[in-house]
Amino acid sequence: MIATAILHRPQLTRGGWLAVTLALLIVVMGLSVTFGTRAVGWSDIGAALTGQVETIGQAAVALRLPRTLLAALAGAALGVAGAVMQGVTRNPLADPGLLGVNAGAALAVVIGIAWFGISGHYTYIWTGITGAALASCFVYAVGSMGQGGATPLKLTLAGAATSIAAASVTLALVLGRNDIAASVQSWQVGGVGGATLAATLPMLPFLIVGLAVAMLSARHLNMLALGDDTAVAFGVRVSVARGAALIAAVLLCGVTTAICGPIGFVGLVVPHLCRLLVGVDHRWLLPFCAVVGAALLIGADVAGRVIARPSEVDVGIVTALIGAPVFIAIVRRQRLRAL
């Protein structure tokens, strides 16, 4: 009963915050279309939005549209995946990048390209999901060995080590194959720069399923947050609830990594930020994470285009620059016992 009292905050505040974050999302989407390495006049932007591609400016804007869409989808997926992982593992440091899931997905895709010659967006996506699933199982197995189960410290170290291992194998594979290096390289640091509609649309069915499963798990995640015993007392089948939520998270980050490459820290930062805004009820938290995640990733992408003119900084670098200080702040705030 106490728990439900905590979970229910005044609805108005949440509604207000939802309006604010949605407005923010629309603003950064607007920025993403108007700002870039090339300055484009308003007339060209207007023309491009109606489908004209005659001047260079209009063509540049036409490239920014799918890019914005991809960043929004990827950000939403990573934000929700991070919130679900933090809920399932009850670990404030859980993030698909930190826990090695993105690196596993990336390795699987690179192995697929290098050894099995896979191509096509759907094949990439399935391979990415497989890699993400294997990596998350592995990290959870390593991180929960020994006394005390999966503590945040153990999980994070296992994830970081798995990330490093997967990344170094990925690098060795890519360097050995000049023929695939070009296609893999831009993708490897985590970027949305090469986005096309043809690559973005195949993500949609997977993302919809992932988000739906995540939302259906929201109530169970609330129960799991109270501890396994309490959750059982509330009638939750703990392992089923955990499994379903993890499948959602793996789907979301596997798909995103298959198309964008490994992007870290979005899944860490966004849920913590959203919890400050709307509290810990996952039924509200998850939609907020989707909106804020989309806004954050689009914002990071815009920043990456502007800070290093005339070249671009990949969005994965920008999110790491933003996210690593947040990670450090969380580590500092936690008591070591709680870690």
Partner: protein
């Protein structure tokens, strides 16, 4: 009881003897490895020609392959390996945690970021790069210590914060590299994983200076470092000035790591691997500083040779050591989980 007391000097003698044998064998391996890498590459140069080139005589053909191509690589591999191995193991011993090596907790990344800044943005070269790299490494070490400090440095928090700082600095390196006039994958790899492809003999002097000064400091403090391993209280009871020793060791570690990183990039995991391997083969006794340095040199030399000639493609040395080190890191974490050292 009596026999145990009587055998103590004998035991001590045996340990010292064992350590001397280990060091002699590692040295022999290193010399053999250097000789092999100097004479066998794409082509085989007879040992007589190698020696002739080393003594400065001009041998057609061999002067180029041995003197210009192979010698700088071998010299830089050995010097950088000595620095990484010695610095890494001293840091692990000081912080009493094998995970607390400079390349994992972000000291290497700080040195690398400063070196990249000096080279790419300021256009410097030579000693200036090394100096700024040392400042960067010290800055990173101070930042990590300040962020992780709460009534002392606890292992888990220090390492997590180090991983965070390291990620941050590596992103900064990636960003700085984008500012370079001609971005190339080779440069990026050199600064993110370490490579000897740009090795030249002019880079050797800062490393030799660092090895003489910082290595000398560490070796002269060996007894104090050994006492610190027992814990602060016991070390203080043994008359060790804990604070001063710690500061001296950290300064020496940063000096070694930073200068080597400025020359070759942070060759992945050499600093992390050398200590545990040395501890295993050197047996009990004093902290195995010299064996760890030699193992670092062997690792870099061997991995660079493998990356050039033994693997199906040519890889920079950092990719090879990274592929060796990452599974070892995982197995170490698994072992530490099992024994409950990580809680």
């Amino acid at each position: 009881m009596t026999s145990a007391v009587l055998s103590l000097p004998l035991l001590r003698h045996r340990r010292i003897r064992h350590r001397q044998i280990v060091i002699a064998m590692l040295l022999a391996l290193l010399v053999a490895g250097a000789a092999l890498t100097l004479s066998v590459g794409q082509t085989i140069t007879p040992p007589s020609d190698v020696l002739a080139v080393l003594f400065g005589r001009d041998v057609p053909g061999a002067s180029f392959t041995v003197g210009t191509l192979r010698l700088p690589r071998v010299v830089m591999a050995i010097l950088a390996g000595l620095c990484f191995g010695l610095g890494g193991t001293a840091c692990q011993i000081l912080l009493r945690n094998p995970l607390a090596s400079p390349d994992i907790i972000g000291i290497s990344a700080g040195s690398g970021a400063a070196a990249v800044f000096a080279i790419v943005v300021l256009g410097w070269s030579g000693f200036g790069v090394s100096a700024l790299s040392i400042i960067g490494g010290l800055g990173a070490a101070a930042l990590i210590a300040a962020l992780a400090w709460r009534d002392g440095l606890s292992g888990g928090r220090l390492i997590l914060i180090g991983i965070g700082v390291s990620t941050l600095l590596n992103s900064a390196i990636a960003w700085l590299l984008l500012q370079a006039p001609a971005w190339s994958l080779q440069d990026a790899l050199r600064w993110l994983t370490g490579s000897l492809n740009t090795a030249s003999l002019d880079q050797a002097l800062p490393l030799i200076v660092a090895l003489l000064i910082c290595g000398g400091v560490l070796l002269s403090l060996t007894r104090d470092i050994a006492a610190l391993q027992l814990g602060d209280d016991k070390a203080a009871a043994l008359g060790v000035r804990i604070g001063a020793v710690r500061v001296a060791v950290i300064l020496a570690v940063v000096g070694l790591i930073a200068v080597a990183t400025a020359a070759t990039g942070p060759i992945a995991f050499v600093a992390f691997l050398a200590g545990p391997i040395a501890a295993r083969i050197a047996g009990p006794g004093q902290p195995p500083l010299i064996p760890a340095a030699l193992i670092g040199a062997l690792l870099v030399l061997g991995a660079d040779y493998a990356g050039q000639f033994l693997l199906p493609h040519r890889y920079p040395v950092g990719v090879v050591t990274g592929a060796l080190g990452a599974p070892f890191l995982l197995s170490l974490i698994i072992r530490m989980n099992r024994t409950g050292r990580l809680t």
